[in-house]
């Protein structure tokens, strides 16, 4: 048990350092991304599981669609989630792919207005 804890502690340090060394995603404009490629990556790496195929959100993760989240906060959150979301490191999900994902999320349309079924 103690060895396990020690190993875990080392791992934590490693990731912490790795995290610190990753250049902070400071740029306000996202690296070029393609919404169609993004749709594929969104599905393959699992964002859909918690945020829905359309990024509409639900009990397992908030809506990201039609929120116009800035790239800086978006990418920072994926790299270092503060709460329940699992982290995606650069090693597992390169920034180029995250940029495609971002383009896909940004391309999600605003919802239709005044849907009669939702007024009851």
């Amino acid at each position: 048990m103690k060895t396990m804890m020690a190993a875990a502690a080392v791992l934590f340090l490693v990731t912490a350092v790795a995290g610190a060394q990753t250049p902070a995603p400071a740029q306000q404009t996202a690296p070029a991304g393609n919404a169609d490629s993004g749709a594929k990556v969104w599905k393959s790496v699992g964002c859909w599981q918690c945020h829905g195929y359309e990024a509409q959100g639900g009990a397992a993760g908030p809506r990201l669609a039609a929120r116009n989240l800035p790239w800086t906060g978006f990418s920072a959150y994926v790299r270092r989630p503060a709460n329940q979301m699992p982290l995606y490191t650069e090693k597992a999900l390169p920034t180029a792919d995250l940029a495609h994902i971002y383009a896909y999320v940004q391309s999600r349309p605003a919802p239709p207005q005044n849907i009669p079924l939702l007024l009851k």
Binding site: A8, L11, F12, T15, S44, V45, G46, W48, Q49, C50, G52, Y53, E54, Q56, G57, G58, A59, A60, R63, A65, A66, N83, Q84, P86, L87, Y88, T89, K91, A92, L93, P111, P112, Q113, I115, L117, L118, L119, K120
Partner: protein
């Protein structure tokens, strides 16, 4: 446990005639169906004359190889006295005696035999039936292979504090067992494998012993905290003639249910003082409403304080559109609270703490320092140690080991007595703020539901909205768990009756949803309610035979598949592991999804005699499909619509 092969019929009758428990036997005995003999007294061997005459003609066969008053008949008298409406069972030889007594001596009414295809289905049906109807259903199964199948569902009922009346067959006398299977189906102590998650059990060795234990078990099961109980029925006791000396002693003991324990008056006064003085009190309810009165009482308390209520949905506790229903704002309310009243909470600690499931598991308090916590919880009266469903230890300020529903009237009275005019004015202001917040939350829910409205796979918000449109003018009941559809029904539908939501499995043992929906729908049937079920695909596949049971017993129920083609909770868990280990983040589907081939749920249901259609992938096809299916359900039969959905 007599295994005597012959019985002196005249002595038997003589002995039986002296029993005199008639006054104690409820109407159920007298109201037995036509095949049943007139039952002047429980355990009395009153038999049709014709049968007796035939018997006299051939003493060898009649006297030594037949009996018209087996022990099982008396067991049925006892069950009738308990007003048990149904016995859910997958048939089995270790209880063939009582099975035959139920259908022939008992006239297959009170209890009526429900043919189930798996013991897990029997128990989960009984589990949800109780929550809709307020009385236990019996389950009959083998003491060995049956209880093993049933065990997971029993654990769910235990965690959910629901009484299930378990009867298990067994053959104790080793020298009387048929060689082969009956040995494999016999056990010294059938209850041993369940004892960690049932409340009480017994293994009666005589019919009078059975009678006392059967009534005692019922009473124990029904005393909060309610839980399953088990009576093991020896095969000989069921099948053998009632011995004359025993017949003379047979009576059905009187059942008087224990009044549920109410919180100590000093603690109630202290809780009322804290609540009245609080600036930001919050009432949180989980398994509060045992009966319809639970809702009324909670509304009374909430309105006396004009305090927000957070419904954790372990039961249908509070009307969803009551302005004080603030379940949508739970996080913020709890963070700002100065007093929190927890009513039958499964997890008070988890209510006031956040826990992070990361490589390094961490937790933090969600409440302000000094927030006072009040707990009323019957589970404090009875906790077992092995299975850990009791959750983390909550550090509360006032703890009442008591039934919350029974305690609420006294608490509300105390609150009203303490509330000065000043406090009442403050309460009214609070009410106004909460009404606004409730309205905003409702609007926000509608806005959220509009996202992905046209999506395929179909969004769970759209699914809930479309279903609501079809049932809202009926006397409807949602008989499913609804944890996996992002709570859309609670956010969009107008819940205000106790049977409109039945909570969830309790132990999160998957496979509960389908049989629970059938059991809930069975309870609703005689009240003419329209039962609907939003059904997970993974859950459906555990024991799909329950759809046959629904068709066979003509149980009206609309099932709408929430078919996300996965054990989706596990998809997310595997994703978390892969991300954490920085490898293979595209492979979380392996071992978790239910694709290739896709399951054709409509075909499965059709194969069991259920009207079914789908898979539906275009949201615009939902309304007409629901209408067709509901036409079948309104005629009294089950129907299923398979909908391919978003994950959550």
């Amino acid at each position: 446990m007599s295994r005597k092969r012959s019985v002196d019929r005249r002595d038997f009758l003589k002995g039986a005639a002296v029993t005199g428990a008639a006054a104690l036997v409820p109407d159920a005995v007298a109201a037995a169906a036509p095949q049943a003999p007139p039952a002047e007294a429980a355990g009395q061997a009153a038999r049709p004359a014709a049968a007796g005459a035939v018997r006299e003609a051939d003493p060898l066969v009649e006297v030594s190889e037949t009996t018209d008053r087996p022990g099982g008949d008396f067991m049925v008298d006892v069950l009738k006295s308990l007003n048990i409406e149904y016995v859910a069972s997958n048939p089995g030889s270790s209880f063939r005696g009582i099975h035959e007594s139920i259908i022939n001596y008992g006239g297959n009414a009170m209890p009526e035999f429900l043919t189930c295809c798996h013991e897990e289905s029997s128990v989960a049906m009984a589990h949800a039936y109780f929550k809709a109807e307020g009385k236990p259903m019996a389950v009959l199964c083998h003491g060995t292979v049956g209880l093993q199948h049933a065990a997971m569902a029993i654990y769910n009922a235990y965690c959910d504090r629901v009484p299930v009346y378990l009867l298990a067959g067994n053959s104790l006398d080793a020298t009387m067992r048929r060689p082969g299977v009956e040995w494999a189906h016999s056990v010294q102590d059938a209850a041993s494998m369940l004892r960690d998650f049932i409340k009480w059990d017994d293994n009666p060795i005589s019919l009078p012993h059975f009678a006392e234990s059967a009534v005692r078990a019922y009473k124990i099961a029904m005393t909060p905290p309610m839980m399953p109980v088990l009576i093991v029925l020896d095969g000989g006791l069921q099948e053998d003639p009632i011995p004359p000396d025993v017949a003379s002693r047979l009576r059905v003991p009187k059942l008087t249910l224990a009044a549920p324990p109410q919180g100590d008056s000093g603690a109630v006064a202290e809780a009322a003082r804290l609540l009245v003085d609080a600036q930001n009190p919050v009432v949180v309810a989980d398994r509060l409403a045992r009966t319809p009165a639970g809702i009324t009482r909670l509304v009374e308390l909430a309105e006396a304080l004009q305090a927000p209520v957070v419904d954790q949905h372990g039961r249908m506790n509070f009307p969803s559109r009551h302005p004080l229903n603030q379940s949508e704002n739970a996080g913020q309310l709890i963070a700002n609270a100065d007093v929190i009243l927890g009513l039958e909470l499964t997890d008070f600690w988890g209510t006031v703490h956040a826990f992070r499931d990361a490589q390094h598991r961490t937790s933090r308090s969600r409440i302000r320092p000094g927030t006072r916590l009040i707990s009323i919880n019957a589970v404090d009266l009875f906790v077992k140690s092995n299975f850990q469903d009791f959750q983390r230890y909550p550090e509360v300020d006032v703890a009442m080991a008591a039934d919350a529903e029974a305690t609420l009237p006294a608490l509300t009275e105390a609150v009203k007595r303490l509330a000065t005019d000043d406090r009442r004015r403050a309460f009214q202001e609070r009410r106004a703020r909460l009404e606004e917040a409730h309205g905003r939350a409702r609007q926000a829910a509608r806005n959220e539901a509009a996202h992905a409205w046209e999506a395929s796979p179909i969004s769970t918000g759209r699914l809930a909205a479309e279903l609501w449109a079809q049932i809202r003018n009926d006397d409807w009941a949602l008989v499913s768990e609804s944890g996996n559809t992002s709570g859309w029904a609670f956010r969009l539908w107008d819940f205000d009756k106790h049977y409109q939501h039945l909570g969830d499995s309790g132990g999160a043992g998957v496979g509960y949803g389908a049989p629970a929906a059938v059991g809930g729908a069975l309870a609703n049937k005689k009240h003419g309610r329209l039962s609907v079920n939003i059904q997970g695909d993974g859950d459906f596949l555990y024991a799909p035979g329950v759809w046959w049971t629904a068709a066979h017993h003509r149980i009206p129920l609309l099932t709408v598949m929430h078919n996300n083609r996965a054990y989706h909770q596990e998809v997310m868990h595997i994703q978390r592991m892969a991300n954490r280990h920085q490898r293979g983040i595209t492979r979380a589907n392996i071992g978790t999804t239910i694709e290739d081939p896709n399951v054709d749920f409509a075909k499965i249901a059709q194969g069991m005699g259920v009207h079914a259609e789908g898979p539906i992938t275009n949201p615009r096809d939902l309304a007409p499909a629901f209408q067709r299916a509901l036409a079948v359900v309104r005629k009294g039969e089950p129907a299923l619509v398979d909908v391919v959905t978003q994950p959550r």
